[in-house]
Symmetry: C2
Subunit: 314 residues, 2 copies
């Protein structure tokens, strides 16, 4: 038990990250049924699709789960209506100003966490009344902060800046890396990439296999002029790179990016034209496992690494 | 005791990073006298200056110390002659091909470590016969790898790839972050920024004070077209940025960089025109301390964080 398990009503202080095209009700309920916090990623869902996923998730688990809402979502009011109607108890917001929505949720008894990538936004989130912040480092997949602060440096900075619990994200995929995050003072971890290619993830098998084959240095943070995202190198990325090499601008990048590239890559398995968002930790993931296996492995790995830690007194 | 303390003949598995204009004989001997490995940074020294520093270091400590040699150093043969003449027992090489010099040193009984930033070079270093690798993440100050892999992701990848001990570098400045690195499986840590502004560092007081005032997001990895370096934002960096914004090339960047900008910044304290190389962890450094205080604090902080680690079994 710690502040995070207590706050969220879960057994283990681990959050399965909400990820577009990966984390629908299937992954979220599997996570919740295995003692961690399952999260439905609303970013890739139309409002009515989200509603369906929440309803299915409620049927598939009796344990707490959350919904992740990117605050730049166009029909965001519709999403909040659905969250309120369906009685969602935990919401994770990201990518926007937490001041705008936090109190509306808190007034209804919803527990709110906000994803941040620097001290300024951590303080803003705390001031807005969120219950915890998720500090996400440069190594994380998908949308990323502009300051390029790594998990190793971000977590200690955030812990010094706020009083609410800090959950570490970015670069965490094993028990050892969870132990590292907890060593830094985090009170929980959010894990994305490892669950993105779990058996219960709705990502395409071809995407999962491609992530498995990724080596160190195979992901890159790019499109910084639009919004920085971390993705695997592929043909689509080569075309981004070519634009940069010739000298480019926002408009050209936007045009190349177009619409639904993430869906194409992650959900439809188009490894050539798709945007294959994933974190740096993909380099050390070795198998496609069930959520149950992943959670068990993380706990065993964590405890055994903890037992064998170097001591200055030995 | 572990493989790193055993290999290097030191009390604690901590290496004070060799840093240009910071780590001469004064810092190195203070480090060695406090149970960790002191390192003279040869990168900023003419051969005869290095010779003098080695001689002074030998007088100032009876404990092992090392010399860091960047393999792109122009008069590198002269440096090796000095190392051999002076009987230096431990050498850290960085920034080049470890295959070229490792065996020559090993043949003379010198212990060799090589700094790497990806799996490919870690394997090359192991094949070349080095005794350990120092895996340096994206968050580190000064020269940096091209793959932008963070310490959190790099260390586990390197541990999977080699059998020799892995020493973690980048983002480590406190006992907690050392604990994080050891959790990832590192058998030692290399600490730069914290020692760069220690009392015994030969850096200018104005540089030390500027680093103290640094907040999260105040460093940036830049000059990637030449060789990526991490530095604090200042007027010099603003001018780099302006070149990038208008569209630039290697030649222009080289011209702006010119010569001795690092000396200007770190040694002469010119905060406007100087290149102020430092790591991301500078954001959480709060005071200018003696090496003795730093080492004691790291050990106490490490052991207390270790005692209080979350357990799944509680």
């Amino acid at each position: 038990m710690n502040r995070v398990t207590h706050l969220l009503g879960i057994k283990h202080p681990i959050i399965q990250a909400g990820m577009v095209w990966c984390s629908g009700w299937k992954l979220a309920s599997a996570a919740s049924n295995n003692g961690i916090l399952g999260v439905i990623g609303a970013g890739s869902m139309y409002p009515d699709v989200l509603k369906l996923h929440i309803q299915k998730c409620k049927k598939a688990t009796q344990f707490p789960f959350a919904v992740n809402i990117p605050l730049f979502y166009p029909q965001i009011e519709e999403l909040f209506e659905i969250l309120f109607e369906e009685g969602v108890e935990i919401v994770i917001t990201s990518g926007g100003n937490p001041g705008l929505y936090t109190q509306r949720m808190k007034n209804r008894g919803i527990k709110v966490m906000h994803v941040i990538a620097n001290v300024k936004f951590a303080k803003k989130a705390q001031d807005a009344g969120v219950d915890a912040v998720i500090a996400e480092g440069f190594e994380a997949g998908g949308h990323n902060g502009r300051d390029e602060i790594t998990t190793m440096c971000l977590v200690p900075s955030i812990i010094k800046a706020v009083k609410i619990p800090v959950i570490a994200a970015g670069g965490i995929g094993t028990g050892r890396s969870m132990l590292a995050a907890m060593s830094l003072g985090a009170e929980g971890v959010q894990i994305g990439s490892r669950f993105a290619i779990s058996k219960e993830s709705s990502a395409h098998d071809l995407f999962k296999e491609y992530v498995l084959s990724a080596k160190d240095g195979d992901t890159v943070l790019t499109l910084k002029e639009l919004a920085p995202v971390r993705m695997l190198k592929n043909e689509f990325y080569s075309r981004i790179l070519k634009l940069y090499q010739k000298g480019t601008n926002k408009e050209e990048l936007k045009e190349l990016l177009g619409r639904s590239r993430i869906k194409k890559g992650i959900f439809e398995g188009d490894l050539i034209e798709g945007n294959l968002e994933i974190g740096q930790i993909s380099a050390i993931i070795e198998s496609i496992d069930s959520v149950k296996t992943i959670v068990q492995e993380i706990i065993m790995d964590y405890e055994s690494a903890k037992l064998n830690l170097f001591s200055f007194h030995d």
